[in-house]
Subunit: 336 residues, 2 copies
């Protein structure tokens, strides 16, 4: 997708006054998946997190070639705290664009907006979809697509998609990551925040995100929500129909009992496979599951391996933890 | 739902320069379903449509008690044509609010916005959701709910819901119509345009639209799209999860072969019943289909009756055309 607001690398990652890893997970995700894009980290004195990048003053980062000051931290409520403003202002004054995935827009802060204009820099609010989008056509387009889906939100759909793209490229395949959430967009520099698209246009936006391509090219689309999550299933379904995936991978977190933010029990892997296959067939009858991706971080290695073996046997599909054990089993099934 | 922008009756319905019934279908819908709210119609000289209301000048309607000038006409592209501006301006000057369901907002016209402010009148753009909404909770709430669903868009979901509410009230039941599209909102004076809600909040908006209520009260929610429409299924699913209907009615148009705006074949009634029941069970395990509503307008009466009998026998459910033959069979199944 061509985007007029693609975030330009290299980045200086701003961690603000992050008190824990969860607050800094956007910054950590960028550092993990796009280390070559990250020139350094910039922290306020109260910050308690270190994502392992060189510590830099803003002027230093600019001298080293940084182009964008990326807000790699969230605070409760997604608002822009006053304590961050001096650093953001300094970044603009020193010639950096500023990119954010927060709900509160940088551009809605009159002081920052004026400063950005005066210095000819961009305030890039990635939570705001670019659009305009059309409604989905449902028509099949050339190129291959893989979508990561899940038994819940926040079970590793983005990490799985990123790991698959790295693995596919390592095998010489032509593959592109397609980001659908603000962290994925910051990691990749472009994408569409599906949760902020007007509901009528979600399928159309997903079509625009993974346009017609060479027959052997793979778009690996970051999934959102879950078909069985009562808050977000509509987003998941629109994304499924618009992405029209040929193949999908189910992502799962084995220690969770209820879905994120609600009292609904976590979905069963077999239900997600069955529903995704049935509903996805509307725009791509060839849709097929090629693997199960499990976030086993909470389990000791022997338990993790036993669980993966059991899931693989039960569903007749490869099962792996992409971060811990790699994506080779899924890629073998994909290219079989 | 409490709304600060509810459209106040009585209405003067503006038909602009409508050339055909389709262009004036919003006005006609209001006149059909809320005749008591309509004080008259106002037409430009080029108008070729008559919806059967008394013809009125704006000043006459104001003298007769009108409160709102309702744009009851759409033109290609949903934009506000210059030819309508003098009438809208006069309505504001004479003391009427102006309500519109068009994509183009009245409030974005600087001349109208200034005029409305000067005269202390409201420009009510019903296509803009009020919000802010929260994400859906999935929690069951008191009160009963019925949702109309469909094998396609524009198959009579709104008319069926309105007819059911009239029929339920005639039987002494406590029932409320809940509008989810701009025409329904104009007919009822309130509601939420689901197609314009950000995708993350569709289920939450549907929860807000049909809040907790008395155990014997029915919310009859106007459905949107179809679970098997490749453009809009996500909207349909979010609305289903948030409405958490106890009962649903499937709406169908028997002469259609492909879905509106796409090349996808029209969905089968049995597939819609099965999918709605399975997916709706996530937020209401008691969900059950209580009837099939068929728009038989294109068929002679004997064919219409034969089709309804055949559908009823095939699905083991009452089948009727609410406009042509009434809703009694569905209400009998509902109250059985």
């Amino acid at each position: 997708m061509t985007s007029t607001r693609a975030v330009e690398a290299p980045y200086l990652i701003f961690l603000g006054d992050a008190q824990n890893d969860i607050a800094a997970k956007t910054g950590a995700g960028i550092a993990q998946w796009r280390p070559g894009h990250c020139i350094g980290q910039h922290r306020l004195p109260a910050c308690k997190v270190d994502i392992g990048l060189p510590e830099m003053m803003i002027a230093e980062a600019v001298a080293a070639g940084a182009r964008t000051f990326v807000i790699g931290v969230v605070n409760a409520g997604g608002i822009l705290p006053d304590t961050w403003l001096p650093a953001i202002a300094e970044a603009l004054e020193q010639g950096l664009d500023v990119a954010s995935g927060m709900h509160m827009r940088l551009a809605d802060n009159p002081g920052l907006a004026a400063l950005a204009e005066r210095h000819g820099r961009r305030l890039i609010d990635l939570r705001v979809p670019e659009g305009p989008f059309t409604t989905g056509s449902g028509d099949k387009r050339a190129g291959k697509r893989l979508l990561t889906v899940g038994t819940d939100c926040a079970v590793g759909k983005k990490y799985t998609a990123l790991a698959l793209v790295d693995g596919m490229r390592a095998r010489g395949m032509n593959a592109t990551f397609r980001a659908t959430g603000q962290t994925g967009i910051l990691i990749d520099g472009t994408g569409i925040p599906m949760d902020a698209v007007k509901s009528d246009f979600v399928a159309g936006a997903a079509e625009a995100l993974s346009p017609e391509n060479h027959p052997d090219h793979w778009d690996v689309v970051e999934g959102q929500g879950s078909l069985l999550h009562p808050s977000y299933a509509g987003v998941t379904l629109g994304l499924l129909h618009g992405s029209q995936p040929d193949r999908f991978v189910v992502c799962h977190e084995p220690t969770r009992t209820t879905m994120l933010g609600v009292n609904t029990p976590i979905a069963a892997i077999e239900d997600i496979i069955r529903l995704t296959t049935e509903l996805g067939a509307l725009t791509n009858p060839a849709i097929r599951c090629v693997g199960i991706s499990v976030n086993t971080m909470q389990l000791p290695e022997n338990e993790a391996r036993a669980l993966l073996d059991a899931l693989s046997a039960r569903h007749g599909l490869p099962a792996t933890d992409p971060v811990r054990f790699g994506v080779a089993p899924i890629l073998e099934e994909l290219t079989r």
